[in-house]
């Protein structure tokens, strides 16, 4: 429904309020994109042209699908498809075949968003849904992690593999991720925390620099473009639960390692905070965040996968409608608060 607005000469007739915040959905989305640019830069710096190619492919898949099937003609302009493409690309390994990355983008936007009715209607984070699809369809390719190469220009894998051909033996050296190292390695190596923090490690494009993700997330939180309750509650919950299990001797991961490894930072600051797929109330966001944290810890310690952030968030996405219903704001005037009248305290 459009605001009733008639033009009489130069005079506008609109309903109150006649002023609005400068904030707009479009601006929020593009500032998320902006805040991700350092992470993108770092991934290219670490993984070379392969990183750029993967990002471009997943973004192209998202934008094209949105353009072709999106409900509103100009829905590319709101920036949300761009975010999905970027985030999807950032959770893929650098050597990932481009056609797969493209397909992930098509799936994420098409089945993650458009079938639900477009922006604002979807239940699951489209980037994570795209990633989950790729994980199910191409389990080997998506866990082939390249390491840093001495030659920056070298491709880090079989980026140009053709669809439905068995990928040729890749020359690139692959390495396990720090999480996989601890969990599945024959000879567990604990990656130093400082390397995790700065990103000097093997992993998907955006898993690598916790520092830059943190900075981008804090920037968004300060601008009010993401609800800080979500990342804070996820991180606190991961730290608390993994600390508990570590102390009980149930977990090989120290809490600090848990915080800075894998996709947790990207997930906590950029995936879980997707406004559309997270609760609308702050109390709901606490429940949402704490549950994600707990699930991540459980999957990482006891699950059959090295990484649990994606499934933890997708699972909680599905519960958001229930969380929203359970955390409706209290009706004004229903509190039995008997606080001291200010007038008697003051003056």
């Amino acid at each position: 429904m459009k605001a009733r607005e008639a033009k009489h000469g130069t005079v506008k007739i609109t309903a109150a309020p006649h002023v609005r915040t400068a904030d707009s959905t479009t601006r929020i989305m593009w500032s998320v994109v902006l805040s991700l640019l350092p992470v993108v830069g770092a991934s290219i710096w670490i993984f070379g042209p392969s990183a750029l190619l993967v990002l471009v492919a997943s973004i192209a898949g998202c934008l094209l699908t949105e353009r072709l099937f999106g409900e509103r003609g100009n829905s590319l302009a709101d920036g949300s498809a761009m975010i999905t493409g970027l985030l999807l690309g950032l959770c893929l390994p650098a050597g990932f075949p481009l056609w797969m990355a493209f397909l992930g983008g098509v799936f994420g936007i098409g089945f993650g968003k458009i079938v639900f009715g477009g922006l604002g209607q979807n239940i699951f984070n489209p980037a994570l849904l795209g990633r989950a699809f790729l994980q199910a369809a191409f389990p080997v390719a998506i866990t082939t992690w390249p390491v840093r190469s001495a030659d920056w220009w070298a491709l880090r894998g079989d980026n140009f593999a053709l669809p439905f051909m068995s990928p040729g033996a890749s020359d690139a050296i692959t390495g396990a991720t720090p999480l996989g190292n601890v969990k599945f390695g024959d000879d567990p190596v604990i990656t130093p925390l400082f390397d995790l923090f700065l990103g000097n490690i093997s992993g998907s494009l955006g898993e690598t620099s916790a520092l830059l993700i943190l900075l981008g997330g804090i920037y968004l939180a300060i601008r009010g473009h993401l609800n800080w309750h979500i990342p804070v509650s996820i991180l606190v919950s991961v730290f608390a639960f993994s600390g508990l299990f570590y102390l009980l001797g149930l977990s090989p991961f120290s809490p600090g390692f848990m915080l800075f490894s894998g996709g947790l930072m990207l997930g906590a600051w950029y995936m879980a905070t997707d406004m559309v797929t997270s609760p609308v109330t702050n109390s709901g966001c606490w429940i949402f965040g704490v549950s994600i944290g707990l699930l991540v810890v459980i999957i990482r310690i006891w699950g059959g996968l090295p990484e649990g952030v994606m499934y933890a968030i997708l699972l909680m996405n599905a519960l958001v409608p229930f969380i929203n219903r359970a955390t409706q704001p209290r009706k004004f005037g229903s509190a039995s608060d008997k606080s001291e009248p200010a007038a008697e305290k003051g003056s």
Partner: protein, 447 residues
Amino acid sequence: MVSRLLQTSGLPSFKNGVHPPENKDLTSAIPSRRLPFPAEIVLPLSQHIGRPAQALVKPGDRVERGDVIAEASGYISSFVHATAAGTVKSIEHWPHPAGAMQPSVRIEVDPHSTQLQRPRLVPHWDEVPEEQLSEEISKAGIVGLGGAAFPSHVKLRPPEDQPVDVLMVNGCECEPYLTSDHRTMLERPEHVHQGIRIVLRALGIRRAVIGIESNKPDAIEIMRDTAPGDLDISVQPLEVKYPQGAEKMLIKAVTGREVPSGKLPSAIGALVQNVATTASVALVFETGQPLIERIMTVSGRGIRQPGNWVIPFGTKLSDVIAACGGLNDDAAEIVFGGPMMGQSQASLDVPVLKATGGILVLSNDECKRQDILPCIRCGKCLEACPVFLNPQLMGALARVDRFEEMAENNLGDCMLCGCCSYVCPSNIPLSQLFAMSKIQLSRLQAA
């Protein structure tokens, strides 16, 4: 959200709400001046909540300034007075600021009149019984000047079982741009206090609290300095936050208590009057002047000379604009009231009314039109709503005409303050949807 933390002043307030740019410095330092009497005055019979007044004059009648021209037609109704001397031209339908055409008395102003009102014997307020006080207030046509225009005499008689023990005087003026209450406090503090005294007597109580937002330190100081010593009147500075001046928010800030949903403030022993209302009560008993004019703020970046003016009710918008130097080239929208709750005007012929605290001419930059996008469930509207509604949910329900479900989600508590629309990044006209839904719902319930 972090910026929200930085904005907390530590002064009493309510939860949620918004901080729109104040824009009060356009006019706050400009003393009020009298607008010249226009050539014609148009007085709608309905300038208040309740039944329209009953006209007592006919075309051709000569009226003096302050004469009654229409009487209250029931308990919840109000009197209307001639705001300038002249001759009644006609009684006809005329554009009303609320939108529709309304029966109005047109008076051709006598250009040679001195515009003095007839001498009138003023009863000494201290000696008349309480009931007569509220009757005099009713006959003077006094209604709430804060915007709602609810007849004041009705408020002065709270339900028997809900005795009022504190009068809250509303000097918050939380709407951006408006400075008329601010000027009233600065220029006529003794009238504000005198009015408070009279209202306290009419209620038979002794305690009043004047709530003023802390962005008006000069008003806080002057109201403190002029407060009489024999009554229990205190001045409470409040956090600058919209809608601090809404009755329930003011009461929450001052007493810490929430008026129960669906109840009047008297349910917790409070009664709210606006500072401009009490100032006009004082005039009734001082000079016998009924409510015929008030200070109005003319502001916005679309008007050449913003300022504060004493304007007789019934003055047409075109005359006000002409007296303020005319419109700037980029003037885009004219609003009666504040930018958050005021009403857009479609005609320059509409008259200003008792409840018109301000006339804003907004420039294109000030009221940019923005595209409406789908709701992204950001939750910002929930964090803005001062009465803890879920505008996100209600907005979704309104779009599919599920009005009864909206009522279950407390649509009735919505005060149409506009905070939700103000913050919505997708520019969904939430409060407008709620206003329309309320109308639809009352139709459904009547049927």
